[in-house]
């Protein structure tokens, strides 16, 4: 159910709310009013692929629950940020001040989230985002923020562990896009890999939206494997150009490197790629089967992590509402309830949150294979209950700088 409020209903609504708050009927009223759920997504431009899947995941979830979470009706209001910080700023104001949303899911990109973090803290709007910016749940935490996906490095740290211990790799080259998500992924990989005796020889940064990656690929030589951190549609392009350049080193990647929704776009060159992810379509539990069936029915699509994690966000909101008796008007109580949610068996396995509001959950290491003529990711190892701090002590971890372009530095 989608609806945009006009001014008149807003006035009526706020008049009613003002009247209601004067009465002891307040609790009853707020239970009667639908929960307004805002979704900040991206439906235009080059990030639209993930954004559209986010909307599909959440819409399918609400449909599955008949638009009712813990006994309370839910009204979904979708806002398209256009994938820019300025767009995100505008839309969050519209959602909060015009539509009066109770909780926000999204936005997708870190730069969007960073543009609105102060605003959501000021207005105390619980926000469940997929954006991976590390410091949102580390050095600059926001008390109204919740992340059920992963920080940039959360899946890369176990990947590095796997690379060093299981694959026995010693010397690797990292390549990613030249922005914070790339730096943070590779920073996390490098720290854990080098703590386990490996060595990162080079970190190559390609500007976001580079059409031809060959100049970067050409600098790859004399290593055991390549770690790629591309996002959006770039992994498809990278693998193709990598194979074209005659490169044979094994390729490892993060959560965006071989998303299940991208599988139909890859060609056989990608077979063998190993990726570490917070959500995998091949997780064989009931929650995931139910989700995949719902998505296949609604959209005839193989769902990837953007859809899955939005579905999960919906489920977390549902669990929090169940605890507050359907109430969301006390923002502090509501965010506390959201952060206290634990799911024993979600579509990504068990889920709980640390005191920064970041998820502690499984990370799946997968290998891309061809089965029945189709490319699929097959889980080969599961790391259980992975924290954003990996196995490091939280205080020590936070006393170090956030992962960046030059941190940790390359050791010569």
């Amino acid at each position: 159910m989608k609806k945009t409020l006009d001014r008149r209903t807003l006035l009526l609504g706020s008049a009613a709310a003002a009247g209601a708050s004067a009465l002891p009927l307040r609790a009853a009223f707020s239970q009667g009013a639908p929960l307004k759920l805002g979704l900040m997504t991206i439906k235009t431009g080059s990030l639209a692929e993930g954004g559209i899947q986010m909307e599909q995941g959440l819409t399918a979830f609400l449909k599955d629950r008949n638009d009712t979470l813990a006994g309370r009706k839910v009204e979904l209001i979708v806002a398209d940020t256009g994938g820019s910080p300025a767009g995100a700023k505008n839309k969050v104001q519209e959602l909060v001040e015009r539509d009066g949303v109770d909780v926000i899911t999204g936005p997708l990109a870190a730069f969007e989230l960073l543009a609105i973090t102060d605003y959501i803290a000021q207005h105390k709007v619980p926000t469940l985002s997929l954006a991976a910016a590390e410091d949102m749940t580390q050095r600059k935490p926001n008390p109204y923020f919740l992340r059920a996906s992963a920080t940039s490095a959360q899946a890369m740290q176990p990947l590095a562990d796997f690379a060093a211990k299981d694959l026995k790799l010693k010397r690797v080259i990292c390549i990613a896009e030249d922005f914070a998500f790339g730096y943070e992924q590779m920073g996390g990989f490098q720290r854990v890999f080098e703590d386990n005796g490996g060595k990162v020889l080079k970190k190559l940064w390609a500007p976001l939206g580079t059409a031809d990656l060959t100049p970067y690929i050409a600098q790859i030589a004399d290593c055991d494997a390549v770690i790629q951190g591309f996002a959006g549609s770039a992994p498809v392009k990278f693998i193709k150009q990598y194979a074209d350049a005659g490169m044979k080193y094994p390729v490892l990647g993060g959560e965006t490197a071989a998303d299940d929704a991208l599988m139909k776009s890859f060609s056989d060159e990608a077979i063998g790629m190993i990726t570490a992810v917070p959500y995998t379509a091949d997780l064989a539990n009931d929650a995931n089967k139910h989700f995949l069936a719902a998505m296949a029915k609604e959209y005839n699509a193989i769902a990837g992590q953007y859809a899955a994690l939005l579905w999960l966000n919906g489920q977390i909101i549902e669990a929090a509402l169940a605890k507050t008796g359907g109430k969301s008007d006390d923002k502090d109580a509501f965010i506390a309830a959201l952060r206290a949610v634990t799911l024993a068996d979600s579509l990504r396995g068990p889920v709980k949150f640390d005191h920064f509001g970041n998820v502690i959950g499984n990370i799946y290491v997968r290998r891309m294979e061809k089965k029945d003529g189709k490319l699929v990711n097959t889980t080969i190892k599961t790391y259980h209950d992975v924290s954003q701090f990996w196995t490091y002590d939280e205080k020590t971890f936070l006393s170090q700088p956030v992962y960046s372009r030059d941190y940790p530095p390359i050791k010569s």
């Binding site: 235009t44 431009g45 080059s46 990030l47 639209a48 692929e49 993930g50 954004g51 559209i52 030249d178 190559l204 940064w205 390609a206 500007p207 939206g209 580079t210 059409a211 031809d212 060959t214 100049p215 970067y216 050409a218 600098q219 030589a221 959006g232 549609s233 498809v236 392009k237 193709k240 150009q241 074209d244 350049a245 005659g246 929704a261 991208l262 139909k264 776009s265 890859f266 060609s267």
Partner: protein, 287 residues
Amino acid sequence: MNLYLLLGVNSVALGGLLFLLSSGFSLIFGLMRIPNLTHGSLFMLGAYFGSSIFIWGKLDFWLAALLAALLVALIGGAIERFLLRRLAGNELAQVLVTLGISFMVADLCLMEWTGDPISVPTPEALRGVVRFLGIAFPIYRLAVIVIAVVVAVALWLLLERTRLGAMIRAGVDDPDMARVVGIRVSRLFTLVFCLGAGLAGFGGMIAGPILSVYPGLDGEMLPLALVVVILGGTGSLMGSLLGSFVVAFLYNYGQALLPELAYFVLFLPMVLMLVLRPRGFFGRQAL
């Protein structure tokens, strides 16, 4: 050493692609005096059309590329005939229209082909690499170089050896005088627009196996075409040829050797050219 060689071959292949993209851009710019900001979109449309025909229509790769070029040429012709012509003389409005169309095309492509990238398979015969001096050269990229040369020669013959070419050159040099001597310049506009659009569409499909096709491809290619034309000069085939290779080399070596300054290396020559020699290497008139 190998790095430089590989970059060299890659530069030449990228230069070939850029030539397919920018030769039409340059002709349109030279003749109509406007940068056609839909050119990146036409490139992307060609890639989408071509890959759809190739992958789902199961037609031959080259046939798909030609059909895509034809379709895009028709679209380009329609844009010129029905939109730009109504704004004849108002160049700012024409540029803005082309900009508007590029956004609309991007949205329509997103609707039709969704945001999922399409990975275009390399034609069977051109897969794999040839090894030379210890490095692998992708065969397809070598083929792109050949295609660009063939197209360049064909365009040169068209412009220099045919009556139509002579009329186009006359239109580029002095449209008013061309009208006076009886050349129907407005018809030339449509024709050149079709030709330029078709080349861009063809280039898009040829680029498919290298770049793949995805939303945002338009915006990545357009600035490159602009730099090519500013360096080479508008309305000049030699200019776009030279410009394409200069840009491709700057792009490849710049990104590999000075990655922090990759865009600086690419756009600084454009700025210098505009300031010091506004008509470019071979342009007939200043911008």
